[in-house]
């Protein structure tokens, strides 16, 4: 029995919205989805007319949908924004190299300029190399910390007024839960803000803050957007995974709980007597930091000194490790005094080195970007083919199928079958719960590794 669309009552509904339970047809869903984001952007005053805005693009569903919707709304409502894409290449073979091809596809589809910065150029290390040093655990810390700063660097290079990231409602609710479980009151306070960034830094905005992940997947599916849906190959046992698993279980019981958790986070106030860290700038690299030396510099120093675990865990531990390291280097009798002196020297040394490295990087960036540009135009057609098949093969569709089964209304299930003949019959029913939970378990990293600027995670 087809259910009529709640809004137009002419066509049959294709999906039930998880946020409010209303059934809508495809056209009305598009309109509602875009109008909501438009409302968020205008009500929260995310942009000013004439601004240049960098969209942090990973090639995943969130950033692809964000780029698409931003372009649509910019034209429709005449925001007057100058949109561009900004990508970070972490250097993860089998993951980021493929997803960057999708971003390049987005660049061509949406006619936006694209800038790619790589960890190799910025920090001298790729994630592959870092994982070889640190192992499979804690590597998300490096990735998250470096990406946060890399985005700031990229935005500065592009000269944009703000960075738009693809964080959706699920991500934010998950971050609230994680910060409660970790007892991180400072992040708990700021993680629900729609605009983040202190004075003097480039602000980040989250236009998809109130948009459910499920609707983003549906929107991308019905609009036939090309996106990359493989999990990061370093998907670790990140603590975030626990919060994510909890949220998914809760969502099944009461879908509205995602918005409720965000509301809780927004209205929660921290007691006055609690001291919170103040955000300043790193004395070395001059980027935003709540410590004297930012986490990115500490992690990088650890890598360069062969002490990859330097930035993992407490700062007192880091100090001890540095002292031990220095005392080994000195071989003198008055070890401690030397070590302390040395620490200061090294600090100076390092900052010089980093400065010179930075210059070097900037040069590299330009060349790589040019290279990318020249490379890609030829390969577009091929990319397109590759990607539509890649999306089909790599299991992203299992998630979509199960979503469709949950939220798509009966009437259109045959459409789904014709779309994906391989999931017909017995497969289709198998797809539901078992597959879904498996997919979720693999999903632990997507917020920290799978997309841009997850600034709440990691360190």
């Amino acid at each position: 029995m087809p259910i009529p669309c709640r809004r137009c009552c002419v066509k049959n509904a294709v999906l039930k919205r998880p946020k409010t339970g209303d059934a809508l047809c495809k056209e009305c869903f598009f309109w509602a989805f875009e109008t909501e984001i438009h409302y968020t952007i205008t009500k929260a005053e995310l942009f000013n007319k004439g601004d240049s805005v960098a969209i942090a693009a990973s090639g995943g569903k969130d950033s692809t949908v964000l780029a698409h919707v931003m372009k649509t709304l910019n034209q429709q409502y005449n925001y007057g924004l100058n949109l561009m894409l900004l990508s970070i290449d972490e250097g993860i073979t089998g993951y980021r190299d493929d997803s960057l091809e999708t971003v390049k596809q987005n660049r061509d589809d949406y006619e936006m300029p694209l800038k790619i910065l790589s960890y190799k150029d910025l920090y001298g290390w790729t994630m592959d190399e870092i994982v070889a040093q640190i192992g499979r655990k804690n590597n998300c810390t490096f990735c998250g910390v470096f990406r946060r700063q890399a985005l700031d660097r990229g935005a500065a290079l592009l000269g944009v007024k703000c960075i738009a990231t693809g964080h959706n409602a699920d991500d934010i609710a998950e971050t609230v839960l994680m910060n409660v479980l970790r007892g991180d009151i400072a992040r708990l306070k700021r993680c629900t803000a729609i605009t983040t960034g202190s004075e003097g830094t480039i602000p980040r905005v989250k236009p998809l803050k109130y948009t459910y992940e499920k609707e983003i997947v549906m929107y991308a599916h019905y609009k036939k957007l090309v996106y990359f849906s493989t999990e990061c190959v370093f998907a670790p046992n990140a603590y975030r995974g626990h919060a994510r698993a909890l949220l998914k279980d809760m969502e099944k019981v009461r879908p509205s709980c995602i918005m409720d958790i965000i509301y809780s986070g927004e209205t929660m106030s921290v007691k006055e007597q609690v001291t919170l860290p103040t955000q300043g700038i790193c004395t070395r690299c001059k980027f935003v930091s709540s410590q004297e030396v930012c986490k990115a510099c500490v992690l990088l120093e650890g890598l360069n000194k062969g002490l990859p675990r330097l930035g993992i865990g407490k700062s007192s531990k880091a100090k001890r490790m540095l002292e031990e390291y220095n005392s080994k280097q000195v071989n003198g009798t008055d070890l401690l005094a030397d070590a302390v002196n040395d620490l200061n020297d090294v600090d100076l040394d390092k900052s010089n080195k980093i400065d010179s490295k930075k210059k070097e990087c900037c040069g590299n960036i330009d060349t790589t970007c040019n290279k990318n540009k020249s490379n890609c135009c030829g390969g577009t057609g091929k990319c397109n083919n590759q990607h539509s098949s890649a999306v089909h093969e790599n299991g992203g569709n299992q998630k979509l199928n199960s979503l469709l089964e949950q939220y798509e209304l009966d009437e259109s299930s045959n459409i789904q079958d014709t779309l994906h003949p391989e999931s017909n019959g017995a497969n289709a029913s198998d797809n539901s719960d078992g597959e879904y939970s498996k997919e979720e378990e693999d999903d632990t990293c997507s917020s920290s590794c799978g997309k841009m600027g997850s600034l709440q995670i990691g360190f």
């Binding site: 709640r6 809004r7 137009c8 009552c9 919205r17 946020k19 409010t20 209303d22 809508l24 009305c28 309109w31 509602a32 109008t35 909501e36 409302y39 968020t40 009500k43 929260a44 005053e45 409502y77 609230v176 839960l177 910060n179 409660v180 479980l181 970790r182 007892g183 009151i185 708990l188 729609i194 803050k209 109130y210 626990h242 698993a245 909890l246 279980d249 809760m250 019981v253 009461r254 509205s256 709980c257 918005m259 409720d260 958790i261 965000i262 509301y263 809780s264 986070g265 927004e266 209205t267 929660m268 106030s269 921290v270 007691k271 006055e272 609690v274």
Partner: protein, 376 residues
Amino acid sequence: MICKKCDSPKTVVLRQKDFYCDECFMISTNHKFRACLGKNKILAPNEKVLICLSGGVSSSVLLDLIQYGISLENTKKLRIVPFFIHIFDVESKTATDFILEQCKKYNFNVYMVHLSDYLNTSCQLPEQNCIPEVNCDVANQFHSMQNSMPPTARNDLLLTIKRTLFIKYAKLLQCNIVFTAETSNTLAIKLLCNLAVGRGSQVQNDIGFSDTRDEKVRIIRPMRDISKEELDYYIKIKQLYPICNSSINNTNSLQSVIASFVFDLQENFQSTISTVCKTADKIGVCADRTLGKCLICESNFNDVNFKLSALEATSISRTVSFANISSNHNTDLSNIFKNDSHTAVFPLVHKYLCYGCSRIHSEMKRSTLPPHLQIL
């Protein structure tokens, strides 16, 4: 393996690494209870205190701790005048009998009150130490109200109902203080539940040391530093035999999902519960009483002055999904459904109800509301 405090052999292992002997363990648990009351300085000498009993593990320990405190004859004597109350539901006949038996053993008097008393407007103290007659009509009305709600909302409302009853009877007995037996485990779960139903701004009153929403009566949680693990040792050593009860027994509610999640995570990360409770201590409350308060849970309303909130975003979602909205982009979407309680996702929010209670209200049958809420 020997006790951390004295050198006797260990009998108690806490957090998989701390060893105690029975005696040192009992001293430390008793101290936690007394320290929690002592450092907050809320008890005047001979303060009348209403103590809430459920018959479960934590309530049995609370009863025992109080009995011990009162029985002391030195400077450490717990100087309170205790009154006891047990709130029961029809199905829990075993619990009522157990409580009566338990209180008889300690030589305390107890008042038994049925949950459906929430719907009664009359204020009368029941007879002590016996199960009162329950008005079938009222009980049925109460149950049909409960059954009209999904499990999550039902559990959420149940906590508010109990709180309301505690305060009602505390006032009848002229107690200014109420003790509940919530442990750190219960409170960690309660914090996450609060977040999950949009009550983040009410955390201080719902999880903190004291609930000060009522102007006269304060609800105190003196067992908040004691964990379930410690309670289990306590009842084993003291040979108490509580009945197993759990207020969260629906398998398909947010509360049950959270409870099992916290239990599992605590197994692997021993500091989970204490971390969550520490976080709760740092969360404050909206102090602005001028905004008005919720008719159901008595929490102050949140400041609605920020640019955009999840409440508004949800309302917009409903608005744009609704039939009679044209595609005219110039309409001010925010005001269309504000006052229509049949279509709005959050009926009466910030006028009579807080966000969480408004959500509950939208999920229950209106006709079954208690008299003082019928105006809604």
